[in-house]
């Protein structure tokens, strides 16, 4: 084999590798589908469906003055409603199944990027996850997205999934492009919000003989509020925090009753609300005992996830101060909730 042939072979291989890697890297950096380096291009049909990888980029580079945080209970909100009702340019940064630590991580990103220009934080709190370990996250944060190490960005810019699914595919098929005001929206359509659909996913929780003590979860809640939520409220007193508890359907309370957990869950709401309302920049909205929402299965696709219409109603409430709970009327609301949860005619539900 002649030297020239070998040289050409090496050259062909080297040039192919160099050009291929440069082209792939340039395409990813230019489009930047996870918004890691810059704000979205105006004309590109982005597919925004990966909360773990996209939220930090959205927090860093989008133009907004308020944010919507929470679990899958917040994905059906349309952020245009916040503009219409309150004049706020709101960025949705939900994490399905979010734990408090997930909120802390994204709050860090938000305040690092925007500082005190954030006027309002809308935070949906799922009591279920707020007594977990304070370091628990729903998903392992992707290292190259969440850290400040430029070197490991190589995993982003030379990434087949990013290149194919988020750069090339949207260009070929624009039909999947996300609407910015409805990112992360659930796949359920209007026809899915009814009892028949709820029934598909629901199995009553097993009845448990042991009664949970009322303060069973308080220590976990305290630790999570102290570690993951309250520090941000204290550090940014000019930012207004609008906190709401997502209204699960009456079946959620049916399970709680079957497991003798009504008192311990209500104790959680009581403790959380009192701790949060210690701050002047916090307001809490309480929809748990809103019978028009939680007793009507046409509002639900499963026993906890409510429809966009309910989200719209809650947005209106938060704009108008309706269903806002204060320290003065908290006991009354909780008593009403307890009465509803304990005395509802569950047999009337056609399961």
């Amino acid at each position: 084999m002649t030297d020239k042939k070998v040289r050409n072979f090496i050259l062909a291989m080297g040039v192919t590798v160099a050009l291929g890697l440069i082209a792939a890297g340039a395409a990813v950096i230019t489009v930047d589908p996870f918004f890691h380096y810059h704000a979205p291009l105006k004309s590109f049909p982005y597919v925004v469906d990966d909360q773990v990888d996209m939220n930090p980029g959205l927090a860093a580079h989008m133009d907004y003055d308020s944010v919507l945080l929470g679990s899958s209970m917040t994905v059906a909100f349309d952020t245009d409603w916040f503009m219409e009702d309150m004049g706020l340019k709101t960025q949705k940064l939900s994490y399905n199944g979010a734990y408090p630590k997930d909120q802390a991580i994204i709050l860090d990103k938000i305040f690092k990027a925007k500082g005190d220009s954030v006027k309002r934080v809308f935070l949906g709190i799922d009591e279920l996850n707020y007594s977990s370990d304070t370091e628990q996250t729903k998903f392992e944060p992707t290292d190259y997205i969440y850290d400040d190490n430029v070197i490991n960005d190589v995993k982003y810019i030379w990434n087949k999934t990013v290149l194919l699914d988020y750069v090339i595919k949207p260009l070929v098929d624009r039909s999947d492009a996300s609407e910015w005001n409805k990112i992360y929206k659930p796949w359920w359509q209007p026809m899915h919000y009814n009892l028949a659909n709820v029934r598909l996913y629901y199995t009553p929780a097993p009845e448990t003989p042991d009664k949970t003590t009322a303060d069973e979860y308080i220590e976990g809640i305290r630790a999570n509020l102290d570690a993951n939520i309250l520090p941000y409220i204290e550090a940014h007193p000019d930012t207004e925090y609008t906190i709401f508890y997502p209204p699960y359907s009456i079946l959620y309370w049916y399970d709680a009753k079957r497991q003798d957990q009504i008192d311990s869950i209500i104790a959680k709401y009581d403790y959380m609300t009192r701790r949060l309302l210690e701050y002047d920049n916090v307001e809490v909205y309480f929809f748990q005992n809103d019978r028009d929402i939680i007793c009507d299965f046409d509002n639900y696709a499963d026993h906890t996830h409510y429809s966009p219409e309910v989200c719209h109603y809650m947005t209106d409430c938060m704009a108008e101060g309706k269903r806002r709970v204060t320290l003065q009327d908290l006991d009354k609301e909780l008593e009403d909730l307890k009465d509803l949860a304990e005395n509802y005619d569950y047999d009337s539900i056609d399961l």
């Binding site: 084999m1 030297d3 042939k5 070998v6 040289r7 050409n8 072979f9 090496i10 050259l11 062909a12 291989m13 080297g14 040039v15 192919t16 590798v17 291929g20 890697l21 792939a24 490991n152 190589v154 995993k155 030379w158 990434n159 087949k160 999934t161 990013v162 290149l163 194919l164 699914d165 090339i168 595919k169």
Partner: protein, 559 residues
């Protein structure tokens, strides 16, 4: 650090290669120390605690080795005055060395298994330790045991005369067989073979490490003499050894990343849902796909290791030679994990008496070897069962072959000698090949399963699961990314059977490659150095690199 990671490919390897090339001709000892240093970085990247264990292991074994040498020297001096033999000299340090290595291995790998077994048998409640297994511990302990045994048997390779006179490794001693600490440390820690083998032997490796920076005269897997390679000033252009190594590395990388991991997704899915029931078709395919996943995973790793060794001018022993082409189980074990088989033959089978003590003892010895092989692969009943299955099959095949050969010989004597009849080899036909492949696939079920019950469920599902249903989860690994886009471009996604197309193509390609194609080592050497081939390899490399983001470890890392 994984071979199939960005940091290895774009940072570690270029740095390691650059430092080695700069130092090799100027100061060979410094080049070796550099290789040891980067190897320790490579290993310590996983966990610094692991690194401390490995370094301690190297120091311990080298001390034992020197003790063996000392005792043997002393014994030889005494023998000049009396009539003893030095063969048994050094037995005590050897036993201490083996016990130390096995103790380390047992503690880290088998403690929980032993405690769990104890709890089951004696109905005790001893708490499990959950000790983190240092990666590659089975490989580097066995490699060091082999080295000590070779030293004890006085089988370590001697330095060439010139090397011996001009040894700059800093030993300051004139024993031509004495291995310097630097050479020993490199022998154990050389990163291409550190984590998942091969279990290299001193005879083939030490002369190469000693030849770094010098002209030597050995020829290895790449067919390039060490003399030629060593005398070259390694440069990116024109060095065939680096080029062959690079080609082999790319082929290995693509086997692992593009093929093994794709099969792996389907296999992981099926094992994940097996408890809730899988169909017969899925069960059959799971068994087949795991056989192919393991094949491409292990052969991909071996190719990369061989290629990397080649880049540094070191011929790492071939560990994998198209094993699914084997015509019987005996041949399979000459092709699969070759160096482990050699190690066990040399250090277990032969010391037990090999085939020198009659048929029954031979078969018992073979069963012991396979039992050890099973236990070596993993701390669990499934691995023991897997080893026993192979042991039994090996013994049955060997007995049958002996019987047939004997009968044939008798027939030949009766009917007169005939050349064609003399070359008669039983268990080498197509049927034998098919039976061997099926047997190996079934045995892998136990190898892969977390427990015996899961293995039985998978096997049972092949007949009770009902045909026809292959779930989307099983197909997802095939029907995603670039392959699905290829179907879309070809407008094949609207066909009723489109969801099966890629899986079927993968199965055909995997089986075809495993059963018929030449191995990657041959391809890397014989591939014509043309521009189209260069472009093709470049594309394969890019494709593999872009696929690295879903990094997965090598299956053999766990052993």
């Amino acid at each position: 650090m994984l071979f199939n990671s960005y940091i290895f490919i774009f940072l570690f390897l270029p740095l390691a290669l650059l430092g080695f090339c700069l130092l090799k001709d100027r100061n060979p000892v410094a080049a070796k120390v550099w290789l040891i240093a980067v190897s320790l970085w490579f290993y310590g990247y996983f966990n610094l605690g692991y690194l401390a264990i490995m370094v301690c292991s190297i120091l311990f074994n080298y001390a034992i080795y020197r003790a063996i040498v000392y005792v043997q020297k002393k014994s030889a001096t005494e023998d000049e005055e009396s009539t003893g033999s030095i063969v048994t000299a050094g037995r005590t340090p050897l036993i201490i060395g083996i016990a130390g290595n096995l103790g380390l291995l047992i503690y880290f790998k088998y403690t929980d298994f032993l405690l769990d077994s104890c709890n089951h048998v004696f109905k005790t409640a001893l708490p499990l330790k959950h000790i983190l297994l240092p990666l590659g511990i089975s490989f580097f302990t066995f490699q060091q045991i082999g080295f000590l045994a070779d030293a004890y048997r006085n089988e370590l390779p001697a330095k060439e005369t010139r090397q011996s006179n001009d040894d700059d490794s800093g030993t300051g001693e004139d024993d031509p067989k004495l291995c310097s600490f630097v050479d020993y440390a490199l022998f154990v820690s050389f990163f291409p073979q550190l984590i998942a083998g091969p279990i290299a032997d001193a005879q083939s490796m030490l002369p190469q490490y000693r030849a770094i920076g010098r002209k030597a005269r050995t020829e290895g897997a790449f067919g390039v003499t060490t003399e030629a390679a060593s005398s070259d000033h390694i440069s990116p252009l024109g060095n065939d050894r680096i080029l062959n190594g690079t080609v082999l590395f790319i082929l290995g990388l693509s086997k692992k990343v593009l093929i093994a991991d794709t099969f792996g997704k389907a296999v992981d899915y099926a094992y994940g849902v097996s408890a809730t029931g899988i169909g017969s078709a899925e069960a059959f395919l799971t068994i087949l796909f795991y056989a192919l996943q393991l094949y491409f995973d292990f052969s991909g790793y071996c190719d990369m290791a061989l290629g990397l060794g080649g880049m540094f001018g070191i011929d790492i022993p071939v560990n994998f030679d198209s094993p699914y082409k084997s015509r019987n189980i005996i041949e399979f074990w000459r092709r699969w994990h070759i160096t482990l088989n050699k190690f066990l033959t040399k250090n277990v089978y032969i010391p037990l008496g090999g085939n020198r003590k009659g048929n029954v003892r031979t078969y018992v010895n073979l069963l012991i070897v396979f039992l050890i092989s099973g236990i070596w692969h993993g701390a669990g009943v499934t691995f023991i069962l897997w080893g026993c299955m192979h042991g039994l099959m090996y013994v049955i095949t060997r007995a049958y072959m002996k019987l047939m050969e004997k009968a044939h010989k008798k027939e030949s004597v009766d009917s007169g000698p005939d050349e064609a009849k003399e070359s008669y080899k039983p268990c080498t036909g197509l049927l034998s090949r098919i039976i061997t492949f099926i047997f190996v696939c079934i045995a892998w079920v136990f190898f892969r399963s977390p427990d015996v019950s899961t293995a039985c469920t998978i096997l049972r599902s092949t007949v009770t699961g009902g045909f026809g249903h292959i779930g989307d989860g099983f197909l997802e690994g095939f029907n995603s990314g670039e392959f699905w886009y290829a179907l879309k471009i070809l407008h094949l996604t609207n066909l009723s059977f489109s969801r099966y197309i890629i899986m079927v193509l993968f199965a055909i390609f995997g089986l075809g490659t495993a059963l018929l194609a030449p191995n990657a080592l041959y391809i890397s050497k014989s591939m014509k150095r043309t521009i189209p081939n260069g472009i093709m390899l470049g594309i394969l490399f890019i494709w593999s690199v872009l696929s690295l983001s879903g990094v997965s470890t090598f299956l053999y890392f766990n052993f």
